[in-house]
């Protein structure tokens, strides 16, 4: 992080409010301690996030004195863009990817930190720590810069940018252990609670933002928690009894299913994350 803060004119940290972002934020606090974090946080708000995420975001960033910028694709939202009408692929393209690229361009940011980890998904395993994006924000997996030792090449031309993934080598378990050891606050959605859900086979779909229901379908109260956080319609919950961080870790150690399993967008077509990344998604 200090490397990026030294070598780039306008870095920004993408803050998604999730557990990885929380860890990344703590690392930044530590890296510049006793100084303040020398760059702002950027949250791309699709408008379909959980209410609890937004509350947590505002409270926590104010408490630690971080500078927060929130960006929404207001134009698309005004035109009524939503996942139920557009389908998750188009929705993500408009509200997340487009919005992110706009926000980065507006701020003139030349480096953006993201909390992605290589253990999350197959195409992310090949992501560099410094990931080069061309002037339109696109990723070319065949033309990545070799990354040797800890020597990062941050040279870019005007308009180009770098995405930086400081948590590349962390696993989900590492993240939770760090949250536990460092006592880092996280969104309460990660902890198990009786929540109203649409139950479709193994999938649990939150009812916030009114997803369309199947005929005769009614929400049920289910003891569950979110394993990763995104927009309400794309974030499935998992059945769980874990109400504390140690219980989550205990659950993960015995867990045999991957955390993105319930992310609808990863599965909308084969190799779908790689396609999204090529377009500019994180």
């Amino acid at each position: 992080m200090r490397e990026v803060a030294s070598e780039f004119a306008r870095p920004v940290m993408l803050y998604s409010i999730g557990k990885d972002s929380s860890v990344m934020l703590r690392l930044a606090q530590k890296a510049f301690y006793p100084g303040k974090i020398p760059f702002p946080l950027l949250h791309v708000d699709t408008g379909f996030k959980f209410r609890e995420m937004i509350e947590f975001r505002d409270k926590y960033t104010a408490a630690i004195g971080a500078r927060l910028i929130v960006h929404r694709n207001e134009a698309a939202l005004a035109e009524g863009a939503n996942p139920y009408r557009l389908g998750t692929q188009k929705c993500c393209g408009l509200l997340k990817t487009r919005s992110l690229l706009d926000a980065l361009a507006e701020g003139g940011y030349d480096a953006a930190f993201g909390g992605a980890r290589r253990d999350e998904e197959k195409s992310r395993a090949k992501e560099r720590i410094y990931s080069f994006r061309d002037a339109s924000g696109q990723w070319d997996p065949k033309n990545q810069r070799p990354e040797l030792w800890n020597l990062f090449n941050g040279r870019i031309d005007k308009g180009e940018s770098i995405r930086v993934f400081p948590l590349s080598n962390w696993t989900e378990l590492d993240v939770w252990q760090y949250i536990h050891v460092e006592r880092i606050p996280v969104v309460p959605l990660y902890f198990a609670k009786l929540r109203e859900m649409l139950v479709r086979g193994p999938s649990l779909i939150p009812i916030e933002h009114d997803p369309p229901r199947l005929p005769g379908e009614t929400p049920q109260l289910v003891m569950c928690r979110m394993r990763s956080l995104g927009c309400t319609h794309c974030t499935g919950a998992v059945r769980s009894e874990a109400v504390t961080v140690p219980e989550i870790i205990a659950e993960l150690v015995g867990m045999r299913r991957s955390e993105r399993e319930n992310r609808v967008i990863d599965h909308d077509q084969e190799g779908s994350m790689e396609l999204k990344k090529r377009e500019g998604y994180f």
């Binding site: 020597l151 090449n153 080598n169 870790i249 399993e261 790689e274």
Partner: protein, 585 residues
Amino acid sequence: MAAAETIARVDELEAYLERDQAKGLLRIATAGSVDDGKSTLIGRLLFDSRGVYEDQIAAVRNSTVNRSTGPIDFSLLTDGLRAEREQGITIDVAYRYFATPRRKFIIADTPGHEQYTRNMATGASTADLAIVLIDAHNGVLPQSRRHAFLAALLGIRRIVVAVNKMDLVGFRQDAFELICGSFRQHLERLGIADACFIPLSALDGDNVISRSSRTPWYEGPSLLEHLETVPLQDTGQAQPLRLPVQYVIRPDAGFRGYAGQVVSGAIRAGDPVLALPSGRTTRVKTIVAWGGDLTEAFAPMPATVVLEDEVDVSRGDMLVHPAHAPHISRRFDATLVWMNQQPLRLGQPYLIKHTTQQLTATVTALKHRIDVNTLDGEPAASLELNEIGSVAIETTRPIFFDAYASNRATGSFILIDPLGNATVAAGMIDDFRREPGADRAAQSALLDLDFQASRLTPAERYDRAGHYPATIWLTARQDLAYLLERKLFQRGCQVHVVAEEVESHILPEVGALLSAAGLISIFSVSTLGSQERDRAQARVGEQRFFAFDPENLPASDEEAANRICSALESRGIIAGSRFREGEGI
């Protein structure tokens, strides 16, 4: 045995966390030729050690492609990108993570295709151990030799030779031994004496996780057993301190912290440190950290250091121990792995990134290209993509470095094309004691001079100057050197400081020349080693030579300068100050 741990009760968690944090981390680079089953082997390790999740396995089961004969194509667990899935070849470096109750592992899955040397070098640059795959059916191929060479070149000392597809040769011992014999010779040429050879079948799982009953003649460990027990590479804590400054933290006028990673050695509050390139020596006041100051930070920890004195330190500078400075030079020799379509252009400017410094460099000479199959040097005009060569490099300002063989962090660098911004080469600095040819020539030229040829006698010089010549040898503390120069000058001495960060190996001869001219010379150059010191002492004579360990001198420059003056007086080089005060100038 390799199964992930399960925790029955949450109150066992603290114990689990403690155990988990005590686990060592082994970084592995894999290398193999096309189709020798590397992805299958990694998939098998992940699967059998429960490093993959059930839904990921289900996705592979449901995949439309299955190149294997079994129910699961393990290679699909690791081959991430579409293009390679279509070709059936891993084309880039992918990182995989798994853990057993004994250790955590990161595997850099690097491609085996002949074209992709650059990816291999990338994966190997951070690894402690390399797994080289050999197909038992095909025997040792040039690529296997190349992979072992690259691993050794990138500084990996621990090599596992996985002789795969033993099922295709009926698990025959003689087939295994044949491969071991010829490959062991190759490894010995690379300086690797204790490689571990394991016969296995990634497809069927023999000797991957547990020992196979199909190789009763094999008495060694399974692959995972070996990975769990092989000694971890030492983290460099016992080496001299190197702390390249990454960032200066200045929240207000009252605080100045120098932040960076301790890449080798350790730093403690109260320790003397030498700041390069300024040559200033001071002490560590505190090591500041979130959650409370530290008394000590050691490799590979990050540290934010506050110094006792106001010294000018910025990004790219390095904090080191005064008695164990790195080499400082604008010129050095290195081995390059060329990574770009555009071939190497001699004499053209590139950007070099070394530790936290970035500056301009040119490759001044290509001594030879290395044939990765025979390991022989051959003459070449340039280096093409994936070629390796031995070169001489010159930078615009001095860099502070060690040989790659002794310090990976301060011995490595990358070259960047200043126009296209691509990383064009990875470099490993050679042992500096093999001096560049130009300097050897300068040294021998100086040796040829007969310094005693003057017709003035030392006595005549003494009468004129009022003092005898002397050579004062400091390895740091430029401020002290300049203060001493001023003091001696004010006392009427003919004195000169050599405090530039210059290449060290001709300084003994320079000292002899200055001494022959009757001067008192003060050398304050942090690269000076014991070899130069001994040579200088021999050249100027023991009576005229004064070496001081900066650590044993008083911290105050004033006091230290007085102590050196006293030493000169006591040997009669200069007259005592009391006597001189009485005489006037």
